[in-house]
């Protein structure tokens, strides 16, 4: 039974159509990577699932409920959390305040202490304004903030963007812990190697459409690269 089902979704920015009839499913407990070049529509798709972008057509189903018209803040209460591109922390709030504004009525294992256990680098920064943190620390806060709502579906948009490789490794190590907890994850990642390593299944988008989909273990790199750049379109 799929936790998330996206059916024939269309998203537009004015005249530009960013997502064209995309359908996909994510099962409970799965980790799915969404890959594709810049402008393929990955971020827009995630934002539409989170409720931050209103689609022009199609539906989003979560746990067998049509949530296409549900506003973003109520989707958080249902168990969907997005770590947005560019982190989008509240700059004047401290790390602790950033985490605590995101706590909801949803019960679960995540609390400020639990987030600090997964991201110990945040401990000395707890009472500092988010604006003063390094990129890696900010990304850790952004992920922790999303976890505070005890999501059933965690959406991660390019968590490695703008971070040093060592820091990306640390972030992904922590993410592995989160995934092992049983949280369902849909993530956007530019780094193909990393995406294939962390995800069970990979969905490749090109110009707003899904062009390739498969188990990470069954896909060879050449096919993915071909789909990524639109060199050979699989039937």
């Amino acid at each position: 039974m799929s936790l998330l089902r996206v059916a024939a979704l269309d998203c537009r920015y004015g005249l530009f159509q960013a997502v064209r009839g995309v359908s996909l499913e994510v099962a409970q407990g799965e980790t799915v990577a969404l890959i594709g070049a810049n402008g393929a529509g990955k971020t827009t798709l995630l934002r539409a699932v989170a409720g931050a972008h209103r689609p022009t057509g199609g539906q989003v189903w979560f746990d067998n409920v049509d949530i296409t018209r549900v506003p973003a803040h109520r989707r958080v209460a249902l168990g969907i959390a997005l770590v947005p591109e560019g982190r989008r922390l509240f700059p004047s709030l401290t790390v602790e305040e950033n985490l605590r504004v995101a706590s909801t009525s949803r019960r679960g294992r995540w609390s400020v202490d639990a987030v600090l256990d997964v991201f110990p680098l945040l401990k000395p920064r707890l009472h500092m304004p988010a604006a003063t943190l390094s990129g890696g620390e900010q990304q850790a806060v952004a992920i922790g903030r999303a976890l505070m709502s005890n999501p059933r579906l965690l959406l991660l948009d390019e968590v490695s963007l703008g971070l040093a490789p060592v820091v990306v490794d640390a972030v992904y190590r922590s993410l592995t812990d989160v995934i092992r907890e049983g949280t369902t994850v849909l993530l956007v990642e530019q780094d193909l190697t990393r995406a294939l390593k962390v995800a069970g299944r990979v969905i490749c988008m090109l110009e707003g459409r899904v062009v390739l989909e498969g188990e990470a273990s069954s896909l060879d790199r050449d096919r993915v690269v071909g789909a990524y750049f639109g060199l050979r379109r699989p039937a």
Binding site: A50, G51, A52, P71, A72, H73, R74, V76, A77, A81, L82, P84, R88, L89, F90, P91, S92, L93, E97, N98, R100, V101, A102, T104, R145, A146, M148, S149
Partner: protein, 301 residues
């Protein structure tokens, strides 16, 4: 000694301006709305208190306590009916909408109460007349002191609310990034409505002080708005303590200006406002170094 007295009276006057400016500052800080009807909302608050006093014989302060929930409800209604819709369509629409609202409030008040001037002074008890003579040239009025104390307590309470409570963090988070706030489960609509309710309630407090200090009529609002607006700008848009300091600076400029010439009072306030604007927005090269440093201290305050 007359200068010291002028400064002291300026602080008292400025505290009144700060109370008027407080709600304006909150609405700008949280929603980036400049509420051009803010002065009229304060005057409306004064009329509501006036009606309660007339009907029940309560003192002005007790009447304010009764009027407070009314103002909170009015704030919610204002947000949900006018501001929320206008916010969706760019930055100009809220300005036009609140400008229109200002005219509507003034005319409704004319209709209901006639253009006669009213005052709450008579129903505020001995606080309006009591004062202490410190030395021959220096006197402290009970009302001035009361307004100052209330202003400081009000700003301190708001500061505590914003920095120590979860509801305060939620409000700051929404002000800084409403889109990201929605994504962590915050309903920005209800945060905005709460901010407007608080702002309108504080405008009611401004109306109470306006009515006790002097007189008001249906078209008193715009003048109050100008002073409140200048206080907000002098103190730095969206900064709470800045608004308190801005109000007091404006008050002091006016009373010290009045020492130079009685007709110069309001003009001195406007000149301070213009000087701050020039320093802040690039015209700094035109201002001598020393004055620039003194004025830019407002920026960081």
């Amino acid at each position: 000694m007359t200068v010291v007295n002028a400064v002291l009276q300026g602080v008292f006057l400025g505290a009144f301006y700060a109370v008027l400016a407080c709600g304006l500052s909150i609405m700008f800080g949280v929603m980036r709305i400049i509420n051009l009807a803010h002065g009229d909302v304060a005057v409306l608050g004064a009329y509501i208190i006036y009606v309660i006093v007339e009907r029940t014989g309560l003192s002005a302060f007790a009447a304010f306590a009764v009027a407070l929930p009314v103002m909170v409800v009015l704030g919610y209604i204002l947000q949900l009916t006018v501001l929320e819709r206008s916010l969706k369509s760019g930055i100009l629409t809220p300005l036009l909408a609140t400008f229109g609202l200002s005219i509507v409030i003034q005319n409704l008040l004319q209709l209901a109460f006639s253009p006669d001037v009213r005052s709450l002074g008579g129903s505020a008890g001995s606080v309006t007349t009591a004062s202490w003579q410190v030395t021959s040239g220096l006197s402290v009025s009970a009302l001035g002191l009361l307004v100052l104390v209330v202003a400081v307590v009000l700003f301190a309470a708001l500061q505590l609310f914003l920095s120590r409570t979860r509801a305060g963090w939620v409000m700051r988070a929404t002000a800084e990034d409403p889109d990201a706030a929605e994504l962590v489960g915050i309903d920005s609509r209800s945060v905005y409505a709460r901010a407007t309710a608080i702002a309108v309630a504080i405008a009611g407090l401004g109306g109470l002080f306006l009515g006790i200090r002097s007189v008001f009529d249906p078209v008193s609002g715009p003048t109050q708005l100008i002073f409140a607006f200048e206080a907000v700008v002098i103190g730095g848009m969206g900064s709470l303590w800045g608004t308190l300091l801005g109000g007091i600076s404006l008050g002091v400029a006016q009373t010290v200006g009045a020492q130079i010439h009685p007709q110069f009072a309001v003009m001195a306030g406007h000149l301070l406002f213009l000087a701050v604007l020039i320093v802040r927005f690039g015209g700094a090269r035109l201002v001598p170094q020393g004055a620039r440093r003194a004025l830019s201290s407002f920026r960081t305050a």
